[in-house]
Symmetry: C2
Subunit: 406 residues, 2 copies
């Protein structure tokens, strides 16, 4: 008998019919002999409804009170799901984040889990109860309710799986696994049977928003076996683990596209040490993350720096740079928000320099111009015009998944 | 500087506009220099909506899970109200029942408060924060969320007022105080300035559902000064306290009507000891409360027993009596659910035998037949036909409140 943690997102519990479906999945797992801990998000639009109510009364409420408000959404989900399982004659108990021992820091609205005191959950499992826990929330040292921010319920599930030494942590979503590319827009995109934590991290950060990075990082840290799986089909999903079976051969796991980025170029900077530091420390102070950075080789005692940031940070970045124009010292700034980042991700890539070359080749053959290039141990990213993005993903995907396959 | 506990019911926080109104009342009290603890119910129909959702998934859920579900309603209220006060620039913190230290027994759905651990609330008050607490809920010794059942939020407010030694506990409702009779149906009904706990208890149990008995009993036990007051007008309400100023003179505080009752008569019981015990112990076992009991004087070795019960218990009572027909031994049973109880309540009554006589006189003059009579130290109740009920209240009210006044 094993222990399985199953997490279901907001769309999986959006209405009566879907809660019944989720209860069915839980019941099947339990009846097969496993102990089951379930983590649920708030129902579909509950969170948005609550945010709207709050906005009517105060457009700028404290994060503490928002957490107090929003945490009710998951509590409703777990109670309703527990009742459904009761109706099926199964032993079940629902627990809030604090009841399940989820302790966080005090960053209301974006808290981090510090530890899970697993006593209560273990007591319930000992009684062979199914345990349904609210995702997305915990309490801090003041006993105030906190929420975990984006991807919070996934993180709750992984943290519980880690604390309870679960055999498997299944993340049920509305997609049936991790694909080699977005199946909605790329012909021939294939579901992956397995993927490593690092690949999953790269894919998530590159716009394939199946799992939030925080949960994958936590899973990697504690060696939690993850599975991304659909709550609507009965098919096996994609396993996320440390080492995958197919490791020996070239392992390109996917092609991702990120269009939520913008590029800023500072032209005519003086070619002396410390300039890059100045620019990026200013941005860091405003919590603006910089992704690809390209610095031209200096000539005529000037150089250029280009970098990409999230589109949402563009206005703030532009403002901070303009305000510090004198300190930085540059000739002019150019900005483009019509760019996209296309990335090939694969754990075997570091030993296969041919991957980058192949990628550049197919893009050249397709007449797609590359603006910037960035490589890491497990990925190659290129910046292209947003108009070319979908075509770029398709030709790159065709290149790797028709020749190498998996 | 005093400490005031203010409780607002579901209709007082039903929508954005009303929450703003409530926040205004709280802000005025706070700005006048008092420390303020607020207890809120769930918004208007929230509880009903949640019950409906639950019923779709399981028509008979456990009370534990219902408490988990329903307790979210008050949590939403307190967060929204706290945000509104934040928007007004006031220091405020919302707390759930467990955060406010409300510990109950484990009777899910109808729990009793065992104690209030006031540490957190006191800490917040020391910071001059307004403290907004969820009514209707607490936690039991397992750290499970419990709800207090009917009148629960009033009880929460009184319990907090008792624990914190508050100077005043204001119960805001949609009526502006306690009246000498229901002002919607009785001409000349007057608002009372003051009333004793005992009178309030009698009035509440007699159908003037302004305050739930549990909260009044608790207030009496701990000497909490209550005030029933409207959240819609700015008028003073009715104070509920141990001794009222007007105690010296005849003190008839009100005339109440209860139509939610039924009468059962058992005719032709054998006239021997223990028969009454048999009947009423059977009913007690099924948790059926009996109110007025009338036993005829025995003749021909038989006697009759009539008694009143809640209309909702009628079917159960009939069934248990029928099932035990042999054991009880009676000729036949007659049942009437078209009766009403009219009561005059007043602390000065015990020393004024004229009250009962006056009541019977005006009813006789109005041609209203009295079926049963019951008296206690502070009330006289009569059973009349339901068709005569409103007229009976009016003539009795006219009799006492035109002659004696207050």
């Amino acid at each position: 008998m094993g222990l399985v943690v199953q997490k279901f997102g907001g769309s999986s519990v959006a209405n009566t019919e879907r809660i019944r479906n989720v209860a069915g999945i839980i019941a099947d797992t339990y009846k097969a002999g496993d102990n089951v801990v379930v983590v649920l998000s708030a129902q579909g639009d509950t969170t948005d409804d609550l945010i709207e109510k709050a906005a009517e009364l105060n457009p700028n409420p404290s994060k503490r009170e928002m957490d107090m408000l929003l945490s009710t959404g998951e509590q409703i989900s777990v109670a309703l799901c527990a009742m459904t399982l009761e109706g099926m004659g199964l032993p079940v108990v629902s627990l809030t984040g604090w009841q399940a021992g989820v302790r966080t820091n005090s960053a209301y609205g974006d808290a981090r889990i510090k530890r899970v005191i697993d006593e209560r959950v273990l007591t319930e499992l000992d009684k062979r109860n199914i345990v349904i826990v609210t995702g997305f929330q915990g309490i801090n040292k003041y006993d105030d309710i906190t929420t975990l921010g984006r991807g919070g319920s996934d993180t709750s599930a992984v943290a519980l799986a880690a604390a309870l030494h679960a055999d498997l942590c299944q993340i049920y979503t509305d997609v049936d696994g991790v694909y080699t590319a977005d199946p909605r827009s790329v012909t021939g995109a294939m579901k992956l049977e397995e993927i490593t934590y690092d690949e999953m991290l790269e894919l998530a950060s590159l716009g394939a928003q199946v799992l939030h990075n925080r949960s994958v990082e936590l899973a990697k840290q504690y060696g939690v076996n993850l599975e991304v799986i659909s709550s609507f089909t009965k098919q096996p999903g994609t396993k996320v683990k440390e080492v995958v079976k197919t490791m020996e051969k070239l392992h390109v796991s996917g092609v991702a596209k990120d269009t939520k980025i913008a590029r800023i170029a500072l032209v005519g900077l003086s070619d002396r040490p410390g300039i890059a530091y100045k620019v990026f420390s200013l941005l860091a102070k405003k919590n603006i993350n910089v992704d690809i950075i390209l610095q031209s080789i200096g000539r005529d005692e000037t150089k250029d720096i280009s970098f990409t940031i999230s589109k949402k940070d563009l206005d703030a970045a532009r403002q901070i740079i303009e305000e510090n124009r004198e300190i930085i010292g540059f000739d002019h700034m150019t900005i483009s928000d019509s760019v996209a980042k296309i990335s090939v991700v694969g754990a075997g890539m570091v030993n296969n320099p041919g991957v980058a070359a192949s990628m550049f080749e197919v893009l050249y053959n397709a007449g797609i111009n590359i603006n910037m290039i960035s490589t890491s141990e497990i990925k190659v990213s290129v910046l292209v015009d947003i108009a070319d993005a979908d075509r770029a993903v398709q030709v790159v995907h065709d290149r790797f998944f028709s020749e190498f396959g998996r």
